[in-house]
Symmetry: C2
Subunit: 215 residues, 2 copies
DNA sequence: ATTACATTACTGACCGGTCAGTCATTAATT
DNA sequence: AATTAATGACTGACCGGTCAGTAATGTAAT
């Protein structure tokens, strides 16, 4: 006769579901507490298994870290690539759409914590940092570069220095994410991202100076 | 007769010099390895003393952290205040001067590592984060706010949303510092800061769009 | 000068808590 | 009965923090 209260056995065997559940738990905790401060016991508990089980699926804490980064961030960049190839408006509108979409996809998820996580831990995990640089940063910069070059070629944008402009454009986006997951006493990121994003795009396209251009 | 090889005794008593030397060592190591990953044994060794001595001057690792932040960053903000009160050019020139001077004072020092350090550790040390927010972030934002308001009042700047504009302006500066001390495989921050800074100020003042303004 | 005593900056072995990683055992599935 | 997913007690390294002891310096009496 089964237990009449609960049909869930104490121990379940769910080989297929474990890795994804462990990755989700790890993302949550890494993003919330940082990598070093997160205990694998807690990750396992969060995923409803014991620490031993975690080690059945991931060889070490660092491997788990790598897997979290990979699985979390690559789909977002795939979306970006797709948008770029399909969009057919002018470059200014494309830039605006891209930045807004990025915020929708990442800003509202726990994925938003990944940039801060990488910045914090890159120094101590060069292998992960290398992967992140090649597969996330370079691809992200590539997206913005394509937009800038399209805009400059069409005459819509001024012929700014593309390489540094990319960084200048991405920085406010990154900082907004970073501040969300750090310096919580700071309200910097608290005012609605709408306004922030609008100001960013407005400044970016129009600059700070009034009507007649000098320089 | 003294030792002819070396006049340095094995053990020295230098009560006055210790704190500053320990703070310098701690800044170096915290910035290089992160707070959690830095061992107090190493900090002490770097300063040429034993761990016990460190505890004569600082009550705990966290107190040492706070002292490093305070001692490192406050003088820079004092300089900023002074510049603001003395400068008498137009707001655009003031903004440019302020950003460039900031880079000179901080970008070339180990102080440049402090923003990344704070971002990484703020979550685990709320007391330090609170201090940093009140005494560094708010003061820094105050400087930029003053410049923006001066420029808008004089009619030189467009009437942008000041609060979010502050963040948009500061973000590229911060990101440049952050990338210097993180993601070292990434060359993002490697190209000379000159170009980066010039692009930032140029974009900030003039925007991305060509001559005739829309909107 | 030299000796004796007092003060205190400094040391480093040690302790206790923590946590990544292991493995003998248990129990679900085939 | 055999296989293997899952467990959780255990280990050993690590490190923040402590403290009994050591040696450098000061001071005063001889």
């Amino acid at each position: 006769m089964k237990n009449t209260i609960s049909e869930v056995p104490a121990r379940q065997r769910r080989k297929e579901a474990r890795p994804a559940e462990l990755l989700a738990a790890a993302l949550d905790l890494f993003v919330e507490r940082g990598f070093a401060a997160t205990k694998l016991d807690d990750v396992a508990a969060h995923a409803g298994v014991s620490k031993g089980t975690l080690y059945l699926y991931f060889a070490s804490k660092e491997e788990l870290f790598k897997a979290v980064i990979q699985q979390g961030i690559l789909p977002v960049l795939d979306q970006g690539d797709e948008m770029l190839s399909q969009f057919d408006g002018d470059a200014g509108a494309l830039l605006e759409t891209l930045l807004k979409r990025f915020w929708e996809l990442v800003g509202s998820t726990h994925l938003a914590g990944i940039p801060k996580l990488m910045i914090s831990e890159a120094g101590n995990f060069p292998e992960v940092a290398q992967y992140y640089y090649e597969n996330v940063i370079l691809r992200g910069r590539g997206l913005i570069r394509a937009v800038l070059e399209r805009g400059i070629a069409s005459g819509q944008f001024r012929a700014v220095d593309v390489d540094s402009a990319i960084d200048v454009i991405l920085a406010p986006q990154m900082m907004l994410l970073i501040l969300r997951y750090s310096l919580t006493p700071c309200n910097c990121g608290k005012q609605d991202p709408e306004t922030y994003l609008r100001t960013h795009i407005d400044l970016l396209l129009n600059g700070l100076l009034v009507a007649e251009k000098k320089k």
